[in-house]
């Protein structure tokens, strides 16, 4: 992976961070992203269509994600859907953000005397 300086894009907003995480494995269509984000967050974050596609628009413009092809999702129905996948830039950005958050969590644990783990 090429080394890209992504610090100027940090911190990410909560929806953008989770959308990138959702695309870390496979490429997904919009509804699939929403479902995965809900799984990641135990239903705490349920993206509405306006928020999701607004974020995707900005992420496409920033080069964090790119459009894949349009094809049917066999699990849902035979409607054609547009798929999105993460770019290399997106991957380094979400990693940098995860590191930043991990640092913040470590600091919080030390200051607040929280037990390690959950």
């Amino acid at each position: 992976m090429p080394k890209v300086d992504a610090t100027h894009l940090l911190p990410l907003t909560v929806p953008v961070f989770h959308i990138l995480l959702a695309l870390a494995g496979d490429e997904r269509h919009g509804y699939g992203i929403m479902q995965d984000v809900a799984r990641q967050t135990n239903d705490a974050l349920q993206l509405g269509p306006g928020t999701l596609y607004g974020c995707l628009k900005r992420m496409l413009a920033a080069g964090l994600v790119e459009e894949s092809d349009e094809r049917p999702d066999v699990e849902l129905d035979d409607e054609r859907r547009r798929y999105y996948r993460m770019t290399d830039l997106g991957r380094s950005v979400v990693r940098a953000e995860a590191r930043r958050l991990a640092g913040a969590v470590t600091a919080a644990k030390a200051r607040l005397g929280l037990a390690g783990g959950k």
Binding site: G30, Q46, G50, T51, Y53, K57
Partner: protein, 306 residues
């Protein structure tokens, strides 16, 4: 799985709500957003969700819709874009050119010959399409127009120098017999009552106040019958309202009706400055306007019809 009527209606309502988004955004993501909404509905149906879950779903979507339309609209507005800017201004410019070349003409009154009805420094728009012979014949099919009448104030090209525009009052139309006796205008044998006319001096100046005399210009002299001027076809006889101080038909003859520019429509700005500033434009005048705009503008005349 076939959708219920309820789901179909919800989806249709959502499709309508998409029109609140900016056009570009809607065209790019509208299909996907409808699919997304449809999927969510079907998931709720499949889970046999209670009605409270549907209410929750509706509220969530409404909130999402409000927040994201506001955000997308703001994002769409922020960069105006060169292309858009040029497009908008091009329309404005074309409209401006059309209006200023065809419909109206801006005109500044340089002299006091029409006082006290029109003052030096009155900046006015002249309606170019209101009269027959106003110059643009095509507009007669679209806009109402009429012949020039006696008593009309008109703007016209000065026949001795068509680069100049004059504003005077029409006293005689073709066929009218006119003469002046001691400042009194007599038209077709009747003394005119002229509340608009002003006489600056009590003295009688023969060539000016008794008309026509032997000193009348040649153009007039040709049309004198029994001591009266008979206005020839397609000509107009005009006088200034400031009768004793007006260079008008008495001095240079008739106005060909094809020289009529139009009818003064509205005074958009009236500024108190001497004739010399309006005849020869100079920087001192610009400075004067900059310094005294508020005090020397005649506000009561602004937007007045002359």
């Amino acid at each position: 799985m076939e959708d219920s009527v309820f789901v179909r209606r919800l989806c249709r309502a959502y499709a309508a709500m998409l029109y609140a988004y900016p056009r570009d955004f809607r065209l790019r993501y509208g299909v996907e957003m409808r699919q997304f909404f449809h999927d969510r509905c079907r998931e709720l149906v499949r889970a046999q969700a209670p009605s409270s879950a549907w209410v929750h779903f509706g509220m969530r979507n409404l909130a999402d819709w409000i927040v994201s339309t506001v955000r997308e609209r703001r994002a769409a507005r922020k960069p105006p874009g060169m292309r858009k800017l040029v497009q908008e201004w091009a329309v404005t410019l074309l409209l401006f050119l059309f209006v200023t070349t065809t419909l109206v003409q801006a005109y500044v009154v340089p002299t006091g010959s029409m006082e006290n009805n029109i003052l030096v420094g009155d900046h006015m728009l002249v309606d170019k399409v209101g009269f027959e012979n106003g110059g643009n014949n095509w507009s007669s099919y679209v806009l109402p127009r009429r012949d020039v009448k006696r008593g009309d104030i008109i703007a016209f090209r000065y026949p001795e120098d068509i680069r100049q525009t004059f504003v005077k009052r029409v006293i005689g139309v073709p066929g009218d017999r006119i003469h002046l006796a001691n400042k009194q205008v007599i038209r077709n044998g009747q003394a005119l009552e002229e509340p608009y006319a002003r006489h600056g001096s009590p003295d009688i100046d023969d060539d000016r106040d008794n008309f026509p005399t032997a000193a009348a210009p040649a153009a007039i002299a040709l049309h004198v019958r029994d001591g009266e001027v008979v206005v020839p076809p397609d000509m107009l006889f005009v006088l200034g309202d400031n009768r004793d101080n007006s260079l008008d038909s008495r001095y240079w003859g008739f106005v060909p009706s094809s020289y009529v520019v139009g009818k003064p429509l509205v005074i958009y700005w009236s500024y108190d400055a001497p004739t010399s500033d309006y005849v020869n434009w100079n920087f001192a005048h610009l400075e004067d306007v900059a310094l005294h705009f508020f005090t020397k503008t005649r506000w009561s005349r602004t937007l007045m019809a002359p």
